[in-house]
Symmetry: D2
Subunit: 210 residues, 4 copies
DNA sequence: AATGCTCCAGCTGAGC
DNA sequence: GCTCAGCTGGAGCATT
């Protein structure tokens, strides 16, 4: 850190000194940053040694640091992923997330519903005796329910029941049907785009965090 | 592409030519790769213009390309994230995912349960009239249920009901209690825990593709 | 690959099928891309096993793929890095690159030069007997030469001579002198900025919020 | 920082609180880190506004932070890049760096040299009158010099002379010759590999799986 | 349209 | 030997 300035009498290398100062400031800051990064690593290691999942913690931290806008967008993408997954038949054992249900519920939530069970009461007690036929029946029931105007949250099976995912799958499959255009619940947002799929540029201008 | 080889008679720069060949092979391959990357971009743009969410599609593609091991780990992290979120009171409107429920159910699923409602029937019809007191009551009910040995899937509220998240939150909060150590359901895996001898290490030993 | 389309008679899930098609196209392309990436890795491994330095090859490939503009900018940054290095006294044994010399020569290349050696002929033969005093003398000579209007390419020492770097260092140090503004050869480009260094905020770089 | 602990009398959610503490510690540290990153950005912006090249400054900072080992490796890669560039005829106007010269000098520095000029004295005065024939002659002279055992630092042309690069190019081209194995100066290091780089599979690099 | 920023995957060096 | 954290390079995105 010894200043070399004035080392040569009768001469001042102003530009070189200025450069040196900038570089040293940056180095100092970088050093601080590296120190903090090390601290973060240490905390994570400690949490891990206590039995926590560091990856999950990182996810939580990231979520909590999100702005409201970012959060909404993330949720939307997650929901749509669920919907797409259902439509592709990838919901093996992992039913629709609840927020995807809510999302699917919004657009055209006008129909009526009365009963819920597709033939038997939705009790989850006979878990062990479910056959693949039961699963298929649940899927078909879901499609039927969708066609009848039922909402996705009317899934009669409780969380943990394998038929729950199947019903969801049938419902979503049916929802993306009919040869018409992409259903609005499959799109990213109900942004005033009635029928123009060309996407002029993007309706999401002010993204900036903070 | 004109070969300079033999340009200087009576002299062969073997090493230089070899180097050149390597470089040209790499350049050719890089060029192909860039072309394909462009194609991928085009397909994504087309999908976007059709109304699909590209981010969600990317997520699906990534999931489908996962090996079984990777998939299990991802699921586990997602579940634990849900659990942590619940424990921190971040479940505002987004109840536990179903697979997190399943996970929480496993370890000590021996207790009995009979009724489910904490005081009123769990019908979801009075959605609009729910007060913050109802929410708080649901949370307290969840904590009580946990203390009584109920399982998390015994949440009496259906998907879409705001009290569902509150009940989950109370349950998870209670589950991480008691001054004892980190609950096993909060940890990353039942590695070498006496009770579960299965899961040899992973069913997908040959992980590398090809 | 079995199409599920029409699996359910009287029903066509158009949106789901369209989604599936997009996803499969992307997967196919991603697969091709991964294959090519593997080929590239293989070629590099082969080159390495033949004795070539893969990092250097990658650099060459990258350079060859540059557009003219990118290339010019890269050169400029490299030259300026050399100049800054010299000004900071980091040129231990690695004299200025030739293109940095050319760059430094351009702006005000009007002065005259006659002799070259600062006191002894620049022969490089007595390499082993050079003392640190010789080095310091060379550095001082460089500064003197700069002050006299000599150009940096008038460095009298040949490549490989340790005094060459010292002379450069003295010259560059002197060039960034005199309390005046940053020398033009230190700036990124003579882009129409005749004399306005602006930056009215502070002339003392060390005063930041530290 | 307000602890929620004991908010529910008769109950302490130890695990949840511990998790919360870890997360808050991480968040605090991340916040500090972000602040410093912002400071760094500010300093760079200030330097830029003063006329310095930020890219070059970053390079300098990075170099100064390198360990000796990293520095040596970087230098080696840079030198080899120069050598490869020369061998491929990419040295248009940018002669070999001095450290590449030094490197090339080391391995077999036994030959003798007497004169230096390939036919005319190496004075750089007639810069403007140099023709492409002069350049070609310089390149040929370089190759000849290499064949005669001259070292690369014996390049008779001074920095700034276009023939300097041509001479280098000829020398390096010749150095990588003779149908024998890769020259040692082209390899990454004289690591105990006398002459067998293995790779018995092929001496012809272009035959790979293409 | 060009540039800078940010995020992410892919690769490399340690470590059990 | 395999895994895993760190890192560098590249791609996408937002901005001017």
């Amino acid at each position: 850190m010894a200043r070399k300035k004035q080392a040569q009498p009768g001469h001042n290398s102003a530009a070189a000194d200025e450069l040196r100062v900038y570089i040293e400031r940056i180095e100092r800051l970088e050093s601080d940053k590296a120190e903090i990064a090390q601290d973060i690593k240490d905390v994570k290691a400690e949490a891990k040694s206590r039995g926590f999942d560091v990856k999950a913690i990182e996810k939580i931290v990231k979520e909590r640091g999100e702005t409201e806008k970012q959060r909404r967008r993330r949720k939307e993408t997650e929901d749509l992923t669920d919907v797409y997954r259902a439509a592709l038949g990838m919901l093996d054992g992992t039913p629709l997330g609840d927020s995807a249900r809510e999302r699917l519920m919004k657009p055209e939530a006008e129909p009526a519903q009365d009963d819920a069970a597709p033939g038997e009461e939705p009790g989850a007690r006979q878990r062990a005796t479910l056959t693949s036929e039961d699963i298929a029946a649940a899927k078909e029931a879901g499609r039927l329910a969708c066609r009848e105007g039922k909402r996705v949250i009317d899934n009669p099976y409780t969380a943990g029941d394998p038929r729950r995912a199947a019903w969801d799958e049938g419902w979503c499959f049916e929802a993306g049907s009919d040869g018409m255009d992409i259903p609005s619940a499959w799109r990213r947002s109900e942004k005033k785009k009635p029928a123009r799929p060309d996407a002029p540029k993007d309706g999401e201008p002010g993204d900036g965090e903070e």
